[in-house]
């Protein structure tokens, strides 16, 4: 097995007296989907932001294996290296699509932005790539010139995914990607995500409070409570045979349909 893609060591973060994240360590290998679950305020979003470089940890470090094969501590990257990484090798799917999209720029422009940032200067090629990605995320080709502000919630989320995946990243962070969508749209989106993750061999760090989303998308799971990881392991193992009392409570509180 090759070296892990992402390694977090003793990550910690405090907000005043509140320990949002305490000494968390884990590894992620290429093509692996890791879910971080827990109730609101358990520190899962903070952890995601620490890993994705959106927030500075108080202690600990995150290292990532770049495309050249060398692992680097993210804190030592220069700002331009960090931004290049975020634009090309990473994706970030926000719960609120408006944060991840340019709402007044057409769908084609949204998908093409990363390509143009990488120096693609051929309109025809950019448009072809945008059309291809719209098809992959099941958005009708004739909506390419419409702004996402005219899209439904589910379509926005799919567009956000296309915008992120157009540069073929290796690692995608997702913050409640299905939050706020109704159940049938959620199911379609999960199906799509699962297909894309498998096709592209994406590594995923997924934050969710929805255990069924974690079960569908992830291979491994971290259960968080009050800033600590209280249980981790293979998703099926943890969800079918929870050991920690809190995990047992979480699993038993899922409503049976």
């Amino acid at each position: 097995m090759s070296a892990p893609l992402l390694t977090a060591r003793n990550l910690s973060k405090r907000f005043g007296a509140v320990q949002a994240c305490g000494e968390i360590s884990f590894e992620l290998v290429e093509g692996e989907a890791l879910a971080i679950v827990g109730e609101s305020g358990s520190g899962k979003t903070t952890l995601l932001h620490l890993i994705a470089g959106l927030m500075q940890p108080d202690g600990g470090e995150v290292s990532y294996r770049l495309r050249d094969g060398f692992s680097r501590d993210l804190a030592t990257l220069t700002e331009s290296e960090r931004r290049a990484l975020i634009r090309t090798d990473w994706g970030f799917v926000h719960q609120d699509a408006a944060r991840g999209l340019r709402m007044n720029v057409s769908a084609g422009g949204n998908i093409g932005e990363r390509l143009m940032a990488l120096g693609d200067r051929h309109y025809g090629n950019i448009r072809a790539a945008a059309l291809q990605w719209l098809a992959r995320v099941e958005i009708a080709a004739d909506r390419i010139d419409d702004a996402p502000s005219t899209y439904s919630g589910g379509m926005r989320q799919r567009l956000q995914i296309a915008r992120n995946l157009v540069t073929r990243p290796r690692l995608v962070f997702m913050d409640e990607p299905t939050g706020g969508l109704d159940v049938s749209v959620q199911a379609g989106l999960l199906d799509l995500l699962r297909g894309l993750i498998a096709d592209m061999g994406l590594a995923v760090v997924l934050v969710t409070h929805d255990l069924s989303v974690a079960r569908l998308l992830s291979n491994r799971i971290l259960v968080m409570k009050q800033g600590e990881v209280i249980e981790s392991g293979l998703t099926d193992r943890v969800l079918d045979d929870p050991q920690a009392p809190y995990t047992q409570l979480l699993v038993s509180s899922v409503l049976a349909a």
Binding site: V105, S106, G108, G109, R114, M116, A117, H122, Y123, D145
Partner: protein
């Protein structure tokens, strides 16, 4: 000679010194927006306070000043700025592009080619070319610092997807000396090619936004475009009604309420000279 109620060229010497330092920095880093402590001027924002401050900082008694607004020497803005400097700086003024040593302009670059003894001063309303897609100043500064200019092409992409061609016709973004993306102020894109390799020094002043930037003489200035949608200069299917020019930037003038219209040169000096030459040739 008027009585001196103010310091020479209105601004006090320390202010002029501060502005000159900003100008020198701007010349040293072509296309980079240098912040400066813009002063309150005796005219409203939008009337060219940035350009006036730049002109005030570089002007001397031996200069010959020309001021144009939309290419014309005789519009309110041009006339009042010219009068301002006559009153405060004792300078000679002219409408003749070739005689001028400093040309302050709003919206146009003169048709007559400029020389290396001239300085062109632009009045700029919004100096930040990235503002369209990024409202945060801290972010746009970072984007300039890291040459992160992908969004500029997003804007052009949007144009093509909506209109079939790049529909931006003024304030068309350029890359200066292979580095900074710059807004050439609201000049028509017809004038963009004149910025490239220009012998004259070009200074840009934005009073409200407190920025000065510059294109040194003989600097490479490239208009942004796509490989399959290259930059095109505006072409007119008309000729000037007065002088018959087909190579100048034309203004459309509505002459009645029945759809009557004509096209005339926006550069009045260029047009008048051509008319005079034609008259001479005819005699």
């Amino acid at each position: 000679m008027t009585t001196r109620a103010y310091n020479y060229a209105y601004l006090d010497e320390q202010t002029k010194r501060m502005i000159r330092r900003a100008i020198l920095k701007a010349i040293a880093i072509p296309g980079y927006q240098v912040p400066f402590a813009s002063r309150e001027m005796p005219m409203p924002y939008g009337w060219g306070t940035g350009g006036v401050q730049v002109t005030a900082a570089i002007i001397g008694p031996s200069d010959v000043l020309k001021v144009i607004d939309q290419g014309a020497d005789d519009t309110t803005n041009a006339v009042s700025i010219r009068a301002f400097f006559v009153k405060t700086a004792d300078v000679a003024t002219t409408t003749d592009t070739e005689r001028a040593t400093i040309i302050q302009t709003r919206h146009r670059v003169p048709e007559t080619p400029l020389t290396d003894r001239q300085i062109l001063v632009y009045q700029v309303p919004i100096p930040e070319p990235l503002r369209f897609l990024e409202p945060r100043e801290t972010e746009t500064r970072m984007m300039h610092a890291l040459s992160e200019y992908g969004v500029m092409h997003v804007k052009l992409y949007e144009d093509i997807s909506r209109h079939g061609h790049i529909a931006t016709t003024y304030a068309y973004p350029v890359r200066v000396s292979g580095r900074y993306i710059m807004d050439p102020s609201p000049i028509p894109k017809f004038d963009n090619p004149k910025l490239d390799d220009c012998p004259a020094l070009q200074l840009f002043g934005a009073g409200r936004e407190k920025r000065i930037y510059a294109i040194p003489p003989y600097t490479r200035v490239v208009s942004l475009d796509f490989e399959d949608h290259p930059f095109e200069r505006t072409k007119f299917d008309a000729r000037c009604e007065f002088c018959g020019a087909t190579d100048s930037f034309l203004d459309e003038v509505v002459t009645d309420d029945k759809g009557g219209r004509m096209f005339i040169c926006s550069d009045t000096d260029y047009c008048e000279k051509r008319q005079a030459a034609a008259k001479e040739a005819a005699e």
